[in-house]
Amino acid sequence: MNRIFEYLLPPQRSTVASEVDSLFTFINVTGFILFMGIMITILIFVIKYRRKSEDDVTPVITHNSILEVTWTVIPIILILIVFSWGFRGFLTLSTPPSNAYEINVTAAAWFWEFRYPDGGTTMNEVYVPVDRPVKFIMRSDDYLHSMYIPDFRVKMDVLPNRYTTAWFEATDTGQSLLFCAEYCGTGHSDMLATVHVLSGNDFEEWLETGLEVDEDMPLAELGEQTFTSAGCNACHTLDGTDRIGPSLAGLFGTDRELDDGSVVEADEDYLRRSLLDPQAEVTAGYPANMPSYAGRLNERQIDGLIAFIKELQDE
């Protein structure tokens, strides 16, 4: 039995998960019993009262008060149970503890950005401590998105005009996936992020070091890392095929035709402008929906990306 539900549900990795799962299990089990009851009754009737001849005579039974009251009252009792159970879980889900660690989340087509209380930001990766309530304060830059972490059983829409919040307390260290669950266009299904649950010490340590850029890492390598961590890969490939934006392979040094007809050479300055003010020069044939990375990436990461794109050239 437990095996079935373990298969049906993602691993329980937050404090609310078991509460949600127990209701899930309860409805499944009662539903199954009800369902089987109905189906077996039908089966018995079909076999037992199969038509024997064309002139079968059937009794006239128009109603039966006891039966009818029963099958009205029992469902009412069941739904009241289910409602209050679901309500209780919802109450937990919607009242974050006041001591929660707060992370600001910005969703934009099509990446996630996480800002930590002490100023650092990460993209498409979020680091959270284990056994400590974490609260997301979320806002969208454009459309509706929805922050969904199956392992934690949390989901909340992210709106462009006001903050919404969600909270969880992870019970295990490790990684979990965060999906965008509200349809938001082309890149909707690529709008994923990874949740890294770290133990208390690791988390503190990560806060110290992780947010800082590794000064020693070669620029191009840093760029390669940023390419995925900043979500460029949601829109750009490196193999010459188009996605939402043009492929970055072999881009450097070529002449780019813009949608106003002018032509620019893709040099370092151009790449920089593409990152910081993408709307200013829109490449012909593509939508003007690349987000600006001004303020989202630090200088070294920008340099890294440029170096990385340049390097793609040589291969």
Partner: protein, 100 residues
């Protein structure tokens, strides 16, 4: 029950007269500054009286099959449901949940 009702001239004229008077009234009350919720209530109340007069005497609901009145009121009932429940969201967005 006859649904081919022919209104008398005096009914029609007096209903129209009443409507005009109420129109004047609804404008006139705005000259006195009635405090916040009550001014809306007065305005809507007058509008409801006027609408009821039109429905009953111009649209003949008063003499008509009762079912037509029910049908008409049904539309208003469902409108109230729509407004009422939606307000349950829009007015209570930041309120949080009462404790269980």
């Amino acid at each position: 029950m006859s649904t081919h009702h022919i209104s008398t001239l005096s009914t029609l004229l007096s209903v129209a007269g009443a409507l005009l008077a109420l129109t004047f009234l609804t404008v006139a009350v705005t000259w006195f500054n009635i405090p916040e919720p009550f001014n809306v209530i007065v305005a809507i109340a007058i509008a409801i009286v006027k609408a009821a007069a039109v429905a009953m005497f111009f649209m003949n609901l008063y003499w008509d099959d009762r079912f037509n009145t029910i049908v008409f009121l049904l539309s208003i009932l469902f409108l109230v449901i729509f407004v009422g429940i939606t307000l349950l969201d829009t007015l209570f967005r930041d309120a949080g949940l009462p404790v269980y």
